[in-house]
Symmetry: C2
Subunit: 224 residues, 2 copies
Amino acid sequence: MAAKGVKLFGMWASPFALRVEWALKLKGVEYEYVNEDLSNKSEELLRYNPVTKKVPVLVHDGKELAESLVIVEYVDETWKDGYPIMPKDPYERAQARFWAKYAEDKCLPAFFAVYFTTGEAQMKALQETKESLKSLEKALEGKKFFGGETIGYLDVVVGWFPFWVRIVEEIAGIDIVNGEDLPLMNAWFQRFLDVEMVKKSLPPKDKVYELNRARREKLFSGQP
Amino acid sequence: MAAKGVKLFGMWASPFALRVEWALKLKGVEYEYVNEDLSNKSEELLRYNPVTKKVPVLVHDGKELAESLVIVEYVDETWKDGYPIMPKDPYERAQARFWAKYAEDKCLPAFFAVYFTTGEAQMKALQETKESLKSLEKALEGKKFFGGETIGYLDVVVGWFPFWVRIVEEIAGIDIVNGEDLPLMNAWFQRFLDVEMVKKSLPPKDKVYELNRARREKLFSGQP
């Protein structure tokens, strides 16, 4: 018989695994966390997610799920009497899903490119990141959080930006989000990081800083 | 006051607009279709979807929605007493969303690359397309359709493959899906194309063939 309970396969510095942790914490669901070594993935992870082989993977009562956004919706639908993550109204829900897809397709690759490039390519990526965040900012108009008065689906999806963007700004020595160009986003960054549940769940900043600094250094060390 | 009713901004040969048409037809929702000239988009489309500027866009009682997968879920949730598109069970729903994302992220770009490349690059893309469809085939095991006995969300999402793959096979003169390598997928291709609603909604094959053949020719005419 399949084991009961909830098990999350993540990696301590994975923003995508963190989304699932946030969803579970918002619902008050107890879970076991398995920290994967991504350079030497466990047999269990590969058995549970043979298709993409990526974290996060959630195993609930023996049934496995992959893809962070899919898992977040599953958590919301399964523990449906708990904290509401998705908006109740179908139109609001569609808007949240639209912006989540936009953030994944536009903001994320542009931001990663800022981090993994230098010179002209980096300036182009920086411009794209700012423009895409400016679009995303529309979803914050008149609201404290993307979810309204409290955090919701879209906050969970893009909530890693505030933490990681600040770290990348430090490592790369550039300014990505400030109160002048992106006032709503900048204010939300701080507001989100001040949420008690978020504060308690973030990995140690110095460790994430060091991991990412080393990754970037390694990447560029092989380049002319 | 916002206009009542349902209006779909699409383009007759867009597989993504077709997804939305299928969802609306499954639900029996009446709609007005606006065929966009993608080289000269209407002001209305740009006003309704200023962020990505793409079709499909659905306008329901004056409220606009973009992104085909988001719209399909919205249609299912809004006309919830009609034909069930998403699976009822949250786990099944998560699986359908997982495979939809996989198809978008892996199968689609590989298939497009088959079409827009030649020589070695094309052979590599062909291999990737076949491998990704082999993975996707798992979602068909023991079932007539991805949705089970009848078509559901994942059929709507990947239902354009059967029609377009056959056309690209003809244009590019290569074999992508056959009964030997991909028996379940191959059988589903025919089964999906035989669904009456699908048959009636597909654009004229010769026009799609000609459009795509011309596009490919134009692309390669500028190359050495």
